[in-house]
């Protein structure tokens, strides 16, 4: 068996690939669900109902999707330039911390749009700086950024613990380790009344469109693409590789940081060490399922959110452990890798 490169990747194949991957994941995980003595049809039905069965369910699913859009975008932007940012989780928390620290009282009296802009900027800056460290370590010393970003996730979580038990501790929280809350006036308005769904998701989609525009149409987008596909040729043609990668790192870290800031300003209101159910890691799955395309990120985020929100409800109804959601994600990621392979290569003999 050997592989032969296809002359061109067709668009239908690119759209089909994630669908096939998701289908494969659902089929494979049906076996695991059956092991729990539950019919997979019933379980998947419960999942759909849990994610879309009521007004509340729908808003929950989209509430869950909005940070995923941004962490997924963060991973997609970085992976495209072959910068392996696995630190979305840490950058998310840094953004959240920044928003809580600044949003508690420091901005009192600022006009609202300006205060929001400052908070978003602070969140982005915090995330960006965190990714800047591994990016610079790779560019200066050749240290693999995968390991450093992963290790930084653990470090950041401890920093969060340090903060919410220390300087940012909320004295009104009855000893619970949580940060001071964001000033009530600075919270993002709800999108749907009496739900947790807030304007953050609109913001996330706008950011997706902006990033798409930048990637597809600008000089910066063209240069990043060239640097990602063939860094030597790009450098020869005069693309400043180091500067480009630094910019990509700032953008990617910033997006993940923004996700954290919005989560604090929106549904949560403060920071805890458990506020992210793995948004950073799930962002990697989102990015891969989206084939690193910004628009695909939105669809993939909704899918991932559906699985997570649905799995919780399904677990309560049927007793199948909700960890099945993580299994589905992981299998979908691996299946997507294989599916993508067949969009660019064909098997001969």
């Amino acid at each position: 068996m050997r592989f032969e490169r296809r002359e061109d990747v067709s668009l239908p194949a690119l759209i089909l690939a994630p669908l096939i991957a998701v289908l494969a994941a659902l089929v494979l995980c049906a076996g695991l669900i059956a092991m729990a003595g539950v019919s997979p049809w019933l379980a998947y039905g419960e999942m759909l109902r849990g994610a879309f069965g009521s007004r509340l369910a729908v808003t929950e699913t989209f509430t869950r999707a909005s940070p995923l859009i941004l962490t997924g975008l963060a991973a997609a932007v970085a992976f495209r330039a072959r910068l392996w940012n696995i630190g979305g989780e840490g950058q998310f928390y840094m953004g959240a911390l920044a928003a809580a620290a600044l949003g508690h009282s420091a901005l009192a009296g600022w006009p609202l749009p300006l205060a929001w802009a400052a908070l978003a900027a602070a969140g982005m800056a915090a995330g960006a700086v965190l990714l800047l460290v591994p990016a610079v370590l790779r560019l200066r010393f050749g240290v693999d950024e995968v390991v450093t970003t992963l290790l930084l996730n653990f470090i950041v979580l401890l920093i969060v613990g340090l903060m919410v038990e220390g300087v940012l501790k909320d004295p009104m929280a009855f000893g619970w380790p949580q940060s001071v809350p964001v000033a009530a006036g600075l919270r993002l308005p709800d999108l749907v009344p009496r739900s947790r769904l807030h304007v953050g998701i609109v913001l996330a989609v706008v950011v997706v469109l902006l990033v798409w525009l930048v990637q597809a149409r600008t000089v910066f987008g063209a240069e990043t693409r060239a640097a990602g596909l063939n860094p030597r040729a790009a450098a020869f043609a005069g693309v400043p590789i180091t500067a480009t990668l630094v910019k990509v790192a700032l953008l990617s870290g910033g997006l993940a940081g923004l996700a954290g800031a919005i989560e604090v300003l929106g549904p949560v209101g403060y920071v805890t060490t458990t506020m992210s159910p793995g948004f950073g890691y799930a962002g990697i799955v989102v990015a891969m399922l989206a084939a690193l395309h910004p628009l695909g990120v939105v669809a993939a985020s909704v899918f991932v959110a559906t699985v997570f929100v649905g799995a919780d409800a399904m677990s309560r109804a049927t007793g199948v452990p909700s960890f099945i959601a993580d299994v589905i994600m992981a299998v979908a990621l691996l299946a997507m890798l294989v599916a993508l392979l067949f969009t660019t290569w064909r098997v001969r003999r």
Partner: protein, 313 residues
Amino acid sequence: MMEALDILTTASLWAAVLRIATPLIFGVLGALICERAGVLNLGIEGIMTMGAMVGWLTVYWGGDLWAGLAMAVLAGMAMGWLHAMLTVPLGLSQHVSGLGITLLASALAYYLYRLWVQVGDLPPTIEPFQPWPIPGLSAIPFLGDVVFTQTPPTYVALILVGLVAWMLARTPMGLALRMTGENPHAVEAQGLNPVRIRIWAVMVGSGIMALGGAFLTTAAFNSFFPGMVQGRGWICIALVVFASWRPGKALLGALLFALFDAFQLRLQTVVEGVPYQLFLMAPYVLSIVALILVARRARVPEALMQPYRRGER
């Protein structure tokens, strides 16, 4: 300050160092075998989690402790097989596939654990490996307490270091493995099959990684709980670089690490007013520092992370 130095001379500290180092030794040896053959295995964190769960579960279901270790190895090899299939014959990104394996193996471990084990307020426990003083040797002052009064898996880890070092340096198999990591085309040109060598290396390496996880649940602790591997896998990946891909240095690296860890644990009880998180951060920060220190000097296997396709350069 004197108190801190006193800690360094106690046998119990050094015994703890060896205990803490054991899972790292397994992990770093496993990662080293994979990487020497040219495959980065970021599945390590998940494979260790899987090994921890399977090892524990086997014993919980009435199996022997050694049967637990054996089952952990098999589970690790199964995950390794998957990673090998995706990255070697299919040539997919070793980074992404490895992360996928980590996500899959940990999710699967947690899922099956929840499915098969009734968890009350506290996780159920097993009777773990007990320290097994080696007759005669354990009577040596100091050294006997430190090295020869450990649990059996620690002895296995130490023996494995020597075995892997000998295998790599002195056997045809080891040479073929190293050559596959340096230049798979050269292996093929000599009539060997680099694809098969890589697949087996990843499987064996993954089996050894899983032992590191199983040590946690069958010797260090007596129960399984989510998040228990705590980034040890990632630390092992850093240690392989720190050790320049050599088993002897890998042992040294793991011990150095464990020394810091054991030392900070004891320091926490002595030094007051410093938040415990700062101590917990130490191993991760140390890993990054270690990577920076050796990054420029490391002689990386030349074909590491290079997919091999026949007849293509």
